[in-house]
């Protein structure tokens, strides 16, 4: 591309050079302004050498040039003797070329001059003053316009003496092979000059302003000469005149002005004095220092800086800011930091490895104890700088907080519990194991007289045992596929009635037992049978049409009746809990899966079942009657609600805070409640105090399933847990209202095995003695005493 651009430029150049050629003779051109043409040649050569593609254009260009050259030659040839003007001009030119620097008039380019002379690369316009003004064409600064160093020899004859051509009219050949004609020789020139009459003051120059030949006067020529000589142009100017002494040597007789001498001449300036005083003061005050070399100044500054005085001269103690926390001091070094510690402080190999394995930030100590035999062997501590740096960082960047370290014996936190031996009696050992059930024993109950134990298990049987001996006296299979979930004796000594629940059926039975006299048996049967009469007499409340009755009271069939099972009550869903009212006429059942009808109250004398709640918030877990007052407690998963049965209203909501209540029991005195939960907690509530727990006990590692108070006047309660243990607590409720109940754990009974993550499922206390019976998932019931 570079070549192309060169070509283009050259082409644009071409017309101009033509015009030049037209104007001036080729000869002068060759001498004065070779620039255009010759550079063209060079460029052509280059082109030819370099690139054949450019040949066409290049040859074109060269042809143009050849044409030009021919023109030149023609011009020379045609005019043997050039025309006046031309000749004169040529002479002028020659002169000029001889001593160019001298004559060159500033601002007038000789070349431009002759160009302007001949032709129209300027326009004449009128300027503001009405004078002529020459407006020149813009000179295009082409690529090769000022190419001065490509001066090819016009004559191509080479390095041979010119007198070889003496006999020829030409003196050699130009680059195009054209003859270069011999210039006019000295004689001819002389003749010519002689023939021409030179006007006065002729210079051969053209006035650039008028275009007329520029004639100079003698004075002007003299001026030029003086300038050339380096003299002062003005002849008359005297560069070294004599000095005229106006003020110094000549004393004036009279003053020039008669004004009196001003005060400022003889009074010192106040302003200056002010400024001086300013400086003086600054020096005195040390603001301006006399100059001293920097080293000296530095040394002095150093000495001066060390000011020593008593900073605490009049110290007065201040109360420390209460919010100020002084930085804790670093702990003093211990034995293990010694360079020569006792042997036992040295780490073993394992300890060392462990220490090295740890990340430096996790290490408890930043060093390993080490023993150096002598002081000279102790190396530098490599972490010294870093440690100090960290201390610095701690001092200014670590947030400080006051932490009160409890410097007390942890044992002082523990409550003083009375020794268990002082709280006797309570059950401690397993007295009897009741074996016989296949699968889990789900429920146990001791009869009100304290002689018989009833158990119900996964095998669907209810068994009655002699409590002390562990002998099974009676057994009945209630269901082949359902487990007996709960068994409970009717709490009155004048009868011997057992209630048991298997699936959706509740059975009421009179088991045969050694202590059961025929009369007692008869009384019991009468109690059970009384309701049938009531039912048949039709005094039962009419059931709304289309509504399923809450329960169906029926006889269980002859086979069971022969065994002593007298009544079957069928409810809507599986019954899990039975709770008798203290008088024995009512009992409540809870079937957690039954939605609305989960809690039912059955009246034995009327064979009637009521569903007291239209709606329950949450799933009912268990229910109980208040031991003294007509209150009824229902436990849902989270809360225990207390209802007044007479007023039919909600009295209280107890919130133990447990996630899932498993069971609860009311203290016989009626004011305290104990709740067990599946989240391993046992919660004691004082109903008068708050609906929040008074004490929370966590002794079990697994869920607690059952909790029971002793009913016979002993301050005991026990809980049963899935971890296979029972725990016996001493829980005394004082008669005085102001005193708090004392709760002391006294014994942990272990004996049941954990089967399928189930341990002890139920417990019951003996009505009088400090004995309790537990039902285990391992298929046994155990009597503890």
């Amino acid at each position: 591309m570079g070549f192309k651009s060169v070509d283009k430029k050259r082409k644009t150049q071409v017309p101009e050079s033509e015009s030049d050629d037209e104007l001036a003779g080729g000869f002068f051109d060759g001498v004065l302004s070779q620039s255009e043409d010759d550079s063209d040649f060079v460029a052509d050569d280059d082109d030819d050498d370099d690139n054949d593609d450019q040949d066409d254009s290049a040859s074109e260009g060269s042809q143009d040039d050849e044409d030009d050259e021919e023109d030149d030659d023609d011009a020379l040839l045609s005019d043997d003797i050039p025309s006046d003007l031309d000749g004169e001009e040529a002479l002028g030119k020659l002169l000029i070329t001889d001593d160019e620097p001298e004559i060159e008039v500033p601002g007038v380019d000789p070349k431009r001059q002759d160009v302007g002379d001949e032709e129209k690369n300027y326009r004449i316009e009128k300027d503001a003053n009405g004078g002529e003004r020459y407006v020149y064409d813009e000179i295009e600064p082409g690529y090769d316009t000022d190419d001065t160093d490509a001066q090819g020899p016009a004559n191509t004859i080479g390095d041979i003496p010119l007198d070889f051509y003496d006999s020829y009219p030409h003196i050699g050949y130009d680059i195009n092979g054209k003859k270069i004609m011999r210039p006019a020789s000295g004689d001819a020139l002389q003749n010519l000059l002689d023939s021409i009459e030179v006007p006065k003051g002729w210079t051969g120059l053209t006035d650039i302003n008028t275009g007329n030949p520029l004639n100079l006067t003698d004075e002007e020529l003299e001026l030029v000469r003086r300038v050339q000589m380096g003299l002062i142009p003005n002849e008359l100017h005297d560069p070294y005149p004599d000095t005229v002494e106006y003020f110094t040597s000549i004393e004036e007789k009279m003053p020039l002005s008669s004004a009196p001498e001003p005060k400022r001449r003889f009074l010192p300036s106040k302003n200056e004095a002010k400024q001086v005083m300013k400086l003086v003061r600054a020096i005195r005050e040390g603001r301006i220092m006399p100059y001293k070399p920097p080293e000296e100044r530095e040394r002095e500054a150093e000495e001066e800086d060390e000011v020593h005085f008593d900073l605490w001269q009049n110290e007065e103690p201040q109360d420390a800011n209460p919010m100020h926390i002084p930085a804790p001091k670093l702990p003093p070094p211990g034995y293990d930091m010694s360079y020569n510690p006792p042997e036992e402080y040295l780490p073993t190999k394992e300890e060392r490895e462990e220490w090295e394995k740890l990340d430096p930030e996790e290490r408890e100590k930043e060093y390993l104890p080490q023993k150096y035999g002598a002081l000279r062997k102790v190396p530098a501590w490599s972490e010294m700088v870093k440690e100090r740096f960290e201390r610095c960082m701690d001092l200014y960047l670590a947030p400080r907080i006051r932490k009160n370290r409890l410097n007390i014996d942890p044992n002082s936190l523990l409550p003083k519990l009375p020794s268990p031996s002082e709280l006797k009696p309570f059950p401690t050992v397993c007295q009897t194991i009741f074996r016989g059930h296949e699968g889990r024993v789900r429920s146990v109950s001791i009869d009100p007289s304290g002689t018989a134990l009833a158990t119900g298990g996964d095998d669907g049987t209810v068994r009655v045992w002699e409590l002390l001996t562990g002998r099974q006296v009676w057994s009945v299979k209630l269901s082949s596929d359902e487990a007996v979930n709960t068994v409970r004796w009717r709490p009155s000594k004048d009868s011997f009635i057992l209630a048991a629940a298997a699936g959706e059926d509740i059975f009421l039975m009179v088991p045969s037992h050694a202590t059961v006299t025929p009369s007692l048996d008869q009384v019991s049967r009468d109690i059970l049978a009384a309701g049938f009469g009531y039912a048949t007499h039709g005094q039962q409340q009419p059931v709304a049409v289309g509504k399923e009755p809450a329960a169906k009271w029926a006889r269980p069939g002859t086979k069971l009746e022969d065994e002593g099972v007298l009544i079957r009550i069928t409810v809507r869903s599986t019954v899990k809990v039975i709770h008798w009212h203290r008088r024995g006429d009512h009992f409540a059942t809870v079937s957690p899966s039954g939605q609305r009808s989960s809690v039912a109250i059955h009246t034995l004398s009327k064979h009637m079942t009521q569903i007291p709640f239209r709606k329950l918030s949450g799933l009912a877990q268990t229910a109980a009657f208040h031991p003294l007052r007509p209150l009824f407690f229902v436990a849902t998963q989270r809360t225990i609600r207390c209802y007044d049965l007479q007023k039919l209203e909600l009295v209280k909501v107890v919130q133990p805070g447990a996630k899932w209540i498993s069971s609860f029991d009311i203290h016989p005195s009626g004011d305290n409640l104990i709740v067990s939960s599946y989240d391993k907690r046992l919660l004691w509530h004082d109903l008068d105090l708050s609906n929040r727990p008074y004490k929370t006990m966590r002794f079990h590692s697994e869920a607690i399933r059952m909790v029971r108070f002793h009913r016979g006047g002993l301050p005991l309660f026990a809980d049963a847990s899935d971890d296979g243990t029972l725990q016996i607590f001493h829980g005394k409720v004082p008669n005085d209202q102001l005193e708090n109940p004392t709760i002391v754990p006294v014994k942990m009974l272990k004996g049941h095995k954990v089967v399928n993550k189930l341990g002890v499922l139920d417990i019951d206390w003996h009505p009088r003695e400090p004995w309790c019976v537990s039902a285990g998932a391992d298929g046994t019931a155990q009597l503890w005493m």
Partner: protein, 652 residues
């Protein structure tokens, strides 16, 4: 209706500022803020409830008290910082204009403490504010001294200018001089990190750490600008503290400092203390002694010796005796209960010897392998007046002649060279100025290892030098700063005193085991049976068991005994020695009883713990955790020691 309160308008939110907010409020750059905080002792706080405090959603980390920042607002230093900032701006602007001369002029007037160690401001007022009384300043001197002593031993770099180091060193040496004159040094401890010193000044205990004289390794991630800020403050502080200390004992501060001597490594000896008005003799003697000494040590030593022979030896004893009987001393009296029943009050430590007189009459010579600086300091601080050392250790010694007859003690820390070696050794030993035979011992002189000095100082008595003889294995060097709490392991007490009951029993049983192991040759099978039973018992005992199994346990030995008898019958041997059995049985029973007791206690504890509230139980468990950890550590130490003692006994 009450006005609705908005979040972040009152309460905790108003009391705290984050660091960014603080910097913005003070209109400072972060490095300037950091400096200000360091000097003024402002530190971040930990609010009780971070969430309430932070106004932004992101969790800020550092909070300052608003009051603290307000207090900083009135700090005169703030103005200096701003001026400096303006100056920097001017310089950068001049440079931007290309006006180098202007920039240079500004630069000249700029304070560059990081280069020159010379700031344009002073920290006097800050120190006075932070420490309203002198005792307050003493209380905070621990970090100051540790820091300055470290910097005095650092190599100078671009971050730590040499001037700063020199100044640190001077301040430290001046402080040491005060301790020497006032005999304030109490304890010292050679640790693996460096040498700890504890001094008591006006009732304040000051503990600081001096690194060993080695080139300190500087780890990459240490910002010396922060350290430099601290050092700047500490230097000012120690300067004032030194002034106060010096004037309090009637000395002129600063003491005369001899640059020439310092260049020759005289260190402590480069200072000459002067009294304020009258030259106090004691002070002059303390430091001036060696300074004046110089020219002819031999002559001086001879004179000293003569003088001692003439005067002191008969005189001192009688004087002391008179002192003790008649002169009312200003020493502390010991209060001893006359009648039983009163409470015991803590009494000030009643040291048997005055620290000023521990090394008073002695002349020490330090061999060239010993650390001169700490030894010189500690010996001087405890009353030694004449300390000589090899001239390679630097200028300022009492004598450089090892053969000086005045020397009573020589501190040596080199291994004992065998006789054959010593003859060759002479040739190698070209660093000492004097050619002394390596094994040569001057009679009448005590040779000890350096640890002797420290142990003497810490125990306040001169220890017997035999334990510390050159080449002898040293007794362990114990930290004097440990205050043993009750039940903690104490290496100074015999093991039997500290062991718990269970440990003693275990140890005894293990011994019996070993003893039986020795007897195995007699009745192989029988004894192995016995061993088994014990192992079983041990295994069972280690577990938590139930009562019934306990009973079985008790039965077990009986059945085993029978079985053993049967086996013996079959083998046709006599039943193994009954005496051993009885002994072990008794011990086993004792252990069993102990186990039972501990188990019952654990049960009780469990019962009581269940009755605690959750908060208290957590606290209790935490406390127990740390206690158990500590006791486990102690137990480990005890067991290690027992093992070692046993090995020693075996060897003996």
């Amino acid at each position: 209706m009450a006005k609705i309160k908005r979040r972040g308008q009152a309460g905790q939110a108003k009391n705290y500022l984050t660091r960014t907010q603080a910097v913005k409020k003070l209109q400072l750059s972060l490095p300037d803020f950091r400096k200000l905080c360091i000097w003024k002792g402002i530190y971040p706080r930990e609010p009780r409830n971070k969430k309430k405090v932070s106004k932004s959603a992101t969790a800020s980390t550092t909070f300052y008290y608003t009051k603290d920042i307000q207090y900083l607002l009135h700090e005169p230093l703030l103005q200096k910082f701003r001026e400096q900032k303006v100056l920097e701006k001017k310089i950068s602007r001049a440079l931007g204009r290309g006006d180098v001369t202007d920039a240079a002029r500004f630069e000249r007037s700029a304070a560059r403490p990081d280069k020159t160690g010379k700031p344009r401001y002073t920290l006097h007022h800050v120190i006075r504010e932070r420490y309203p009384t002198f005792v307050d300043a003493l209380r905070d001197l621990d970090d100051c001294l540790s820091m300055l002593f470290l910097f005095a031993n650092l190599p100078s770099t671009s971050a730590v200018p040499a001037k700063m180091i020199a100044r640190c060193e001077r301040l430290c040496l001046e402080f040491e001089h005060y301790l020497i004159v006032s005999h304030g040094l109490r304890k010292s401890f050679l640790s693996i990190k460096g040498i700890y010193y504890q001094a008591n000044i006006q009732g304040e205990d000051i503990l600081w750490l001096v690194p060993y004289k080695f080139n300190q390794r500087i780890v990459g991630d240490v910002d010396f600008r922060i350290m430099g800020t601290f050092v700047e403050f500490y230097m000012t502080l120690l300067g004032f503290v030194n002034y106060r200390l010096y004037t309090s004992i009637g000395l002129k501060y600063p003491p005369k400092f001899d640059q020439l001597k310092d260049d020759q490594g005289a260190e402590l000896g480069a200072f000459a203390l002067e009294g304020v008005n009258i030259a106090t003799d004691g002070a002059k003697a303390a430091a001036g002694d060696d300074a004046e000494h110089g020219p002819d040590p031999m002559l001086q030593a001879a004179v000293d010796k003569l003088v001692r022979q003439l005067k002191e030896e008969p005189g001192v004893e009688s004087e002391v005796a008179v002192d003790a009987e008649e002169m009312p001393s200003d020493a502390l009296d010991k209060f001893e209960p006359v009648a039983p029943g009163g409470d015991v009050l803590p009494q000030p430590s009643h040291s048997s010897s005055d620290p000023a007189e521990l090394f008073a009459g002695m002349t020490f010579f330090l061999s060239r392998e010993t650390p001169r600086q700490p030894l010189e300091f500690i010996l001087r601080a405890f009353g030694c007046k004449r300390i000589g050392w090899d001239s390679v250790l630097g200028e300022g010694s009492f004598t450089t002649d090892e053969s000086d007859p005045a020397i009573t003690h020589q501190i040596v820390d080199r291994p004992v060279v065998q006789a054959a070696m010593s003859s060759e050794g002479d040739g190698e030993d070209n660093q000492t100025s004097q050619k002394v035979d390596l094994n040569q011992r001057y009679p009448g002189r005590v040779y000890v290892q350096p640890q002797w000095v420290w142990d003497c100082v810490n125990d306040d008595e001169l220890k017997s030098s035999e334990l510390y003889a050159p080449g002898a294995p040293l007794p362990p060097h114990l930290s004097p700063f440990v205050k043993t709490a009750h039940g903690q392991y104490d290496p100074t007490l015999p093991l039997e005193v500290q062991e718990t009951e269970a440990e003693t029993l275990d140890a005894d049983l293990a011994e019996v085991d070993e003893a039986e192991g020795d007897e195995v040759e007699n009745g192989m099978d029988v004894e192995s049976g016995n061993d088994d039973s014990e192992e079983e018992a041990a295994a069972e005992l280690s577990e938590e068991e139930e009562d019934e199994e306990d009973e079985e346990d008790e039965e077990e030995p009986a059945t085993l005994q029978r079985q053993r008898e049967l086996e013996a019958e079959i083998a046709g041997k006599a039943v193994a020695s009954k005496t051993v059995d009885a002994k072990t049985k008794a011990k086993l029973e004792a252990r069993k009883a102990l186990e039972k007791k501990t188990r019952e206690e654990a049960e009780d504890l469990e019962r009581a713990k269940g009755m605690l509230s959750k908060k208290k139980r957590k606290l209790f468990e935490q406390m127990q955790y740390t206690n158990n950890k500590k006791s486990a550590e102690d137990m480990k130490l005890r067991s290690k020691r027992r093992k070692m003692e046993k090995e020693l006994a075996k060897k003996a």
